[in-house]
């Protein structure tokens, strides 16, 4: 039996599921991790964002095959980090989350942005978050929250 092996939030996983399964379904249905959400299902909205070897990807268009031998971090794993705390606090202070559907994806996109650019300009934040849509907040609160997270979490990234 061919298996697909990967590290998920620090734990090794061996999967016997078919390689053409959408990774989002594997997370939500098979592994019970419902933090990543399904918005559009076609790569446009970012609600399903996860980190694959530290890089943001959309899990709704990620075949299970693509995680073989790799490391995946979802919001459930990221929640345990100090960086998450900094982002969470900033999102709360700026009112950057309303219904919350986009929030896990926004947080993953923030991590990917700040890891590569700890002090982004407003334009760089907009560019970094260009794959994540929000129907509630109108973005300014989210961009402000990211600026705040970068400032108040200085030294973490």
């Amino acid at each position: 039996m061919k298996t697909i092996d990967f590290i998920l939030n620090g734990k090794p996983i061996r999967s016997e599921l078919s390689a053409d399964r959408r990774f989002l379904d594997v997370l939500r249905k098979e592994l019970g991790l419902t933090g990543a959400k399904e918005g559009c299902g076609e790569g446009e909205c970012g609600a399903c964002s996860v980190l694959l070897d530290g890089k943001i990807v959309q899990s709704c268009i990620l075949p299970l095959a693509s995680v073989d031998g790799k490391t995946v971090m979802t919001i459930e794993g990221y929640k345990k980090t100090k960086k998450f705390k900094a982002i969470e606090t900033a999102f709360l202070k700026e009112g950057a989350s309303q219904c919350g559907i986009c929030t896990p994806g926004m947080v993953m996109a923030t991590e990917y942005l700040l890891k590569n650019n700890p002090a982004p300009s407003y334009d760089e934040i907009r560019h970094g978050l260009s794959g994540n849509l929000c129907r509630c907040t109108g973005y300014n609160m989210i961009f402000n929250a990211i600026r705040r997270a970068a400032k108040e979490g200085e030294g973490l990234w």
Binding site: K2, I4, S18, A19, D20, R21, R22, L24, D25, K29, E38, G41, E42, G43, E44, G46, S49, L52, K55, I56, V57, Q58, C60, I61, L62, P63, A65, S66, D68, G69, K70, A109, Y112, L113, H127, G128, S130, G131, N132
Partner: protein, 283 residues
């Protein structure tokens, strides 16, 4: 049932391709969307699938003088931040989808998709790309204009895969990339334009023009480019109406849900003229 293979080496991938009925899937950002099924149900793949995206041996960016060699599994995001990548390509990649898509998507996938609106394809035409194909027997090189046969069709044989893309850069003085679409990024181009020029003491040494999404494939007219090489900027300025006339018959856009024919044609001609006038202003 379809077979799913994750090859561990290029040789293993080529062995499967030699059997003839495997579809290559790379980043999957086109194929996963095209074969989308309802959530939680299986994808609608009709063929055996060969997942090549994790082949590390094809993940590279190298430069030898003016030739940029891009391995087939290199992500667009790596290209965007790589020192060897020319600025006109970076401008294009900056507006290409989003970081999450760029982390999976590849240039070989964009070329394999062969959409006339493909942004990576436009740059591959602009930089006179050569596609390096490989099968179990060996390697074959094909120029991009011979490789793309029409929307969605290429010269690839069923046992071959793209191994590398070779782009021919130059020390350009002035380049432009324009993408006219619904949103700035993350949208399919209605019309796209890329131009590059190198001049020395008022003489045009190299000029390249590529126009996307306005015909069955990207438009690049080498005869016009050759005609302009060696001419002075002043001569180019005088020839602008003539140059526009030469491109005009190539521009045959279609009406579709994204835009209409006459709008696209007008935009393409305007972008071309603006590029030529910019060069002329450097006289």
């Amino acid at each position: 049932m379809v077979d799913n293979v994750i090859p561990k080496s290029l040789d293993e991938a080529l062995e499967h391709l030699a059997k003839g009925d495997y579809q290559i899937i790379n980043g999957g950002t086109d194929l996963m969307v095209k074969n989308r099924a309802w959530s939680e149900t299986r994808l609608d793949f009709k063929k055996n699938m060969l997942y090549v995206r994790s082949l590390e041996a094809l993940d590279y960016i190298k430069r030898e003088n003016n030739v940029l060699r891009i391995g087939a599994t290199t992500s667009l995001e790596s290209l965007l931040y790589h020192e060897h990548v020319p600025s006109v390509m970076k401008e294009c990649l900056h507006l290409f989808a989003s970081p999450a898509i760029r982390n999976m998507a590849t240039l070989s996938g964009n070329i394999g998709n062969a959409s006339p609106a493909g942004d990576g394809l436009l740059i591959t035409y602009l930089l006179d790309g050569v596609i390096v194909l490989v099968n179990a027997e060996g390697v074959r090189k094909v120029r991009i204009n011979d490789y793309v046969k029409g929307p969605g069709t290429t010269d690839r044989r069923s046992d071959e895969m793209i191994k590398e893309i070779q782009l021919h850069d130059d020390a350009f003085d002035y380049t432009v990339f324009n993408k006219v679409g619904g949103r700035a990024s993350d949208s399919i181009s209605k019309t796209s334009f890329a131009g590059a020029v190198r001049h020395e003491k008022g003489i045009i040494k190299d000029i390249r023009i590529a126009i996307g999404a306005v015909a069955a494939t990207v438009i690049k007219d080498k005869s016009v480019e050759h005609m302009l090489r060696g001419q002075s900027i002043h001569q180019l300025k005088e020839k602008i109406p003539q140059i526009l006339e030469a491109y005009e018959p190539h521009i045959q856009p279609i009406d579709d849900q994204r835009s209409n024919r006459s709008y696209r044609k007008k935009v393409a001609m305007n972008l071309l003229e603006a590029f030529l006038r910019q060069i002329a202003s450097k006289e």
